[in-house]
């Protein structure tokens, strides 16, 4: 007989286990099932920098958090309602986040003395009552799985054991009434080459599902109704995938072949890996010997008329700076993608941070102005990439596009765009003949210089890193010319047309929250909480950091107080204070974690 079904508006589930336990896969699958059930959702995978830290160790714990709801949501959730912990280390590192009264699903088989010791437990939490405050579901996941797979032939005990994550997935799928076909076909596809493994995983999955139905341990089933999102066709997407596809789209929209010069680095590598798959779009990916060669090759390709892109993070972005400086003075298109991670130096490679803003603005010698924009959500990375390319190509300038480790790996439902609806990017190369060619004569509108690519008869010319005479581009040490060129380079960037700043204003609000980049979700969610609590607050989220929207000063001055939350020590804060002389205050946390909506709400309350 079916169990009673309880309705929920939203749930936050965290899967936590050993790097070897396949938590990312489990979470990913559960997310797909959830997406197909029509909920709104947001995810946050959180894995260690080590490939595989020792089994059962604290640093080896890998987590995946999913927030899904029957209404539109903005974040993966501050703290889980449900924690699935595959071993003591996972329990130890994650329990602190679980709300009291939250439910806890544990694999009792993993709580051996050895594992408890590795996790630094004096006594066994399953027995010492330390879990009394939670709804504990202690399930022998491993033995149940191994038991169920006894009769699947061709499967070693080790392999059987490794299927326990599918048992857990099956169990959770039952608990929240997820559809199961997609996972079934996924497993069949994934292990097509090894049917016995496919069979084992399927068996584990189904066993877990039925265990839920039958076991006493679970008395109710939950249901979260579909959310009412804007109509259309959806898919899940991570920031790095969206960003990669946005670059491919920019290539299509501009009619220029995409050339990516990249050197692997966490959390940017997956952009290189994604673009490497798209040779059918004429995409060339070049894995260079280092970041300097990567950006150099991209610049060389731009000189040849391609859409030159380079992607990196942290230390790799720093290494590209000298070459970006060359691109600034050559005035050639180039997009530099910085997937920000926690620093300084190597820092915490898998963790998000927003501390590269001043680096990309000022990290070059001399006066070297560049446009900078930032993506705000995983799906937005697609549009931000197109925007970056559009500006680079239109104004003949390097452009920095900022993302971060949170956007890169986080997912959200993404309304699939109609490519035909995207605005084309007009690019005109300089053409043959017309008399003496002046490589630095600018377009009066955009101040862009002509882009004359090799192969164009009669436009042979030389450019370089030394200061150039206005219009002719010949080497010049003339003092006034240098001052003029310095101003022209600055004016070109300052004159880029960026949309006016929109404000999510609330009647009567005298406090403005100003955010940028990957914190959009948590900050907007925090703002909504404050409003739910009946207080008034406005929110503006910046896409363009250089140049700023023309109306930003007016926006800021139209509020009594401005709060700038950033995952750094106050970088945008410095820029707006200097530029507009507004006494804005910062809310700054540098923990390698995204903001929680709750802390933002508290920070806002504090200034109200």
């Amino acid at each position: 007989m079916a169990k009673p079904v309880e309705q929920l508006e939203s749930v936050v589930i965290r899967f936590a286990g050993d790097s070897g336990d396949g938590m990312q896969l489990t979470g990913g699958r559960f997310t797909s099932e959830t997406a197909l059930s029509g909920n709104d959702l947001a995810t946050f995978p959180d894995f260690p920098a080590e490939i595989r830290a020792p089994a059962g160790s604290l640093p080896g714990v890998s987590g995946f958090q999913l927030h899904f709801a029957d209404h539109d949501i903005l974040t993966p959730g501050d703290r889980p309602d449900v924690l699935v912990a595959m071993n003591p280390a996972a329990l130890k590192t994650n329990l602190r986040d679980l709300a009291k009264g939250g439910s806890l699903i544990l694999d009792t088989d993993a709580f051996s003395d050895r594992n408890l010791k590795k996790a630094g437990y004096e006594s066994n939490p399953l027995e010492d009552g330390s879990l009394a405050d939670y709804q504990l579901h202690a399930v022998p996941l491993t033995s149940l799985t191994v038991g169920a797979l006894k009769d699947v032939d061709g499967v070693t005990p080790r392999e059987a054991e490794r299927a326990k994550n599918m048992f857990a997935l099956g169990l959770m799928s039952w608990l929240y009434g997820r559809e199961t076909e997609s996972t079934t076909s996924f497993i069949e596809k994934k292990f097509a080459k090894r049917p016995e493994i496919a069979a084992a995983n399927l068996k584990a999955f189904n066993t877990g599902y039925h265990f839920g139905e039958t076991s006493e341990a679970f008395v109710v089933q939950y249901e979260v109704k579909p959310a009412t999102l804007p109509p259309g066709r959806y898919r899940q997407i991570t920031g790095n995938t969206a960003l990669s596809w946005g670059l491919v789209a920019a290539s299509k929209l501009s009619g220029l072949d995409l050339f990516l010069g990249a050197y692997p680095i966490t959390p940017a590598s997956s952009i290189l890996e994604e673009l490497a798959k798209h040779k059918a779009f004429g995409v060339r990916t070049f894995q260079a010997e280092d970041e300097i060669a990567a950006v150099g090759a991209a610049l060389g390709a731009s000189f040849g008329g391609a859409l030159g892109i380079t992607t990196s993070a942290g230390p790799g972005i720093v290494l590209k700076s000298e070459t970006v400086g060359l691109a600034v003075t050559l005035e050639l298109p180039l997009v530099i993608v910085d997937v920000q991670r926690a620093g300084p130096s190597t820092g915490m490679p898998t963790k998000p941070e927003q501390a590269d803003l001043l680096l990309v603005l000022h990290g070059r010698n001399g006066e070297s102005p560049v446009p900078v924009l930032a993506a705000s959500t995983p799906g937005d990375c697609f549009y931000a990439a197109i925007e970056a390319a559009r500006v680079a190509l239109t104004y003949r300038t390097p452009v920095y596009l900022l993302s971060d480790a949170y956007l890169a790996n986080g997912t959200e439902p993404w309304l699939i765009p109609r490519i035909a609806d995207l605005e084309p990017i007009q690019v005109e190369f300089a053409r043959d003949g017309d008399g003496a060619f002046l490589p630095y004569r600018r377009d009066p509108e955009t101040l862009a210089r002509p882009w004359a690519i090799p192969g164009t008869h009669g436009l042979e010319h030389r450019i370089g890193g030394l200061e150039k005479a206005n219009e002719t581009g010949n080497v010049s040490y003339d003092p006034e010319n240098h001052d003029l060129m310095t101003q022209l380079r600055a004016q070109k960037v300052a004159g880029i047309s960026v949309p006016a700043q929109l404000v999510d204003h609330q009647e009567g609000a005298d406090v403005l929250v100003l955010s940028w980049g990957g914190t959009y979700g948590p900050v907007q969610a925090g703002v909504r909480r404050v409003r739910k609590a009946g207080r008034k607050v406005a929110h503006a989220h910046l896409r363009w950091l250089s140049p700023f929207p023309a109306n930003l000063g007016d926006v800021l001055r139209s509020y009594d107080r401005v709060l700038v939350p950033e995952l750094n020590s106050g970088q945008l804060l410095q820029l707006v204070r200097a530029r507009y002389l507004v006494d804005a205050v910062g809310y700054n946390r540098v923990t390698g974690k995204p903001f929680r909506a709750g802390e933002i709400a508290d920070a806002v309350e504090a200034v109200l």
């Binding site: 109509p231 898919r235 596809w245 010997e289 090759a297 699939i416």
Partner: protein, 302 residues
């Protein structure tokens, strides 16, 4: 391009040449400019890319497309251009500091990958532009601005380094030896893939006379010939054999009283751009972007 008739002067840009009077770079420039028409390639399809240094000013003087980039990075920039524009003839001009000091890594990787660029390394065994500090090719004990009591570094042998990196074409020539230099340029241009040409170049301001033993005595210039024993060394030259080329690259005037000029190695291998292009061609072109963004698990709302 059969009807293409160009002469040396067609390759001279309007820029005033700015090397010291007597600099070996003038001779190299003249040799290159007079060789270019032979290529039968239109000027707009030729690109010279350089780094920084006296040698690196070279592109300004060529009436082709050109980029005077940043120190040491020309091979990387040229790689991006050559890979995305296989239709162009891409040349890199670099100095011993530019190519072997700051740019060493890009050089060996361009050679390893067999990128289709012709790299002319003007080796004057000194940093000219920065006013005379020793370079990675300066001899041990060399007294320069930065080594008042002599350098302690063991120098690079640029050819041995190139061979160690797996170069498919390696040659050596002398600035003032127009016929010899032209032969090598011709061979390099004919080689599809990465070509490293070391050109001994006299810096008469900071390292004058470094190569006088062959600059002054024409008859001391000894050339490699495929299949022939080289001079008295008894080493039979084989442009296809690594170890042979390496052995010949070890010969020095000081030690052996003879120094090989000409082509040390020339083997034919698919170039980097060709291999990249093949992969693009194999991927049925004209990808469908709408299909891409609509791929994977999707669901409809409303």
């Amino acid at each position: 391009m059969s009807e293409l008739k160009l002469s040396m002067k067609d390759f001279k840009s309007d820029q005033e040449v700015r090397w010291c009077p007597g600099c070996g770079d003038y001779a190299i420039l003249a040799a290159v400019q007079s060789f270019m028409p032979e290529l039968g390639i239109a000027r707009e399809n030729i690109v010279f890319i350089s780094g920084i240094g006296c040698a690196a000013r070279f592109p300004y003087y060529m009436q082709t497309y050109g980029m005077h980039s940043i120190h040491g990075r020309a091979p990387a920039i040229a790689t991006g251009l050559a890979v995305s524009r296989p239709d162009l003839s891409v040349w890199v001009v670099t100095g011993d500091g530019d190519a072997l000091s700051i740019g060493g890594n890009h050089l060996i990787h361009a050679l390893r990958r067999n990128v289709n660029v012709k790299i002319l390394l003007f080796n004057n065994r000194i940093y000219g532009l920065t006013k005379g500090q020793y370079s990675p090719t300066s001899g041990q004990g060399k007294v320069t601005g930065s080594t008042p009591v002599g350098s302690v570094d063991y120098p690079f042998n640029p050819l041995a380094l190139a061979l160690g990196a797996g170069a498919t074409f390696v040659a050596r020539a002398l600035d003032v030896d127009k016929p010899g230099l032209t032969d090598v340029l011709r061979r390099a241009a004919a080689h599809r893939g990465a070509a490293l040409v070391e050109v001994f170049q006299n810096c008469n301001i900071y390292n004058d006379g470094e190569f006088d033993y062959i600059r002054e005595q024409k008859d001391a210039r000894t050339y490699l010939e495929q299949g022939q024993p080289f001079a008295a060394t008894g080493i039979v030259h084989d442009e296809a054999d690594f170890a042979t080329a390496f052995a010949l690259a070890q010969l020095t005037w000081e030690k052996d009283g003879v120094l090989p000029l000409g082509v040390f190695r020339d083997v034919d291998r698919a170039s980097y751009d060709q291999l990249v292009q093949t992969q693009l061609d194999d991927a049925a072109a004209g990808g469908d972007l709408q299909a891409l963004v609509s791929s994977g698990d999707t669901w409809s709302i409303g």
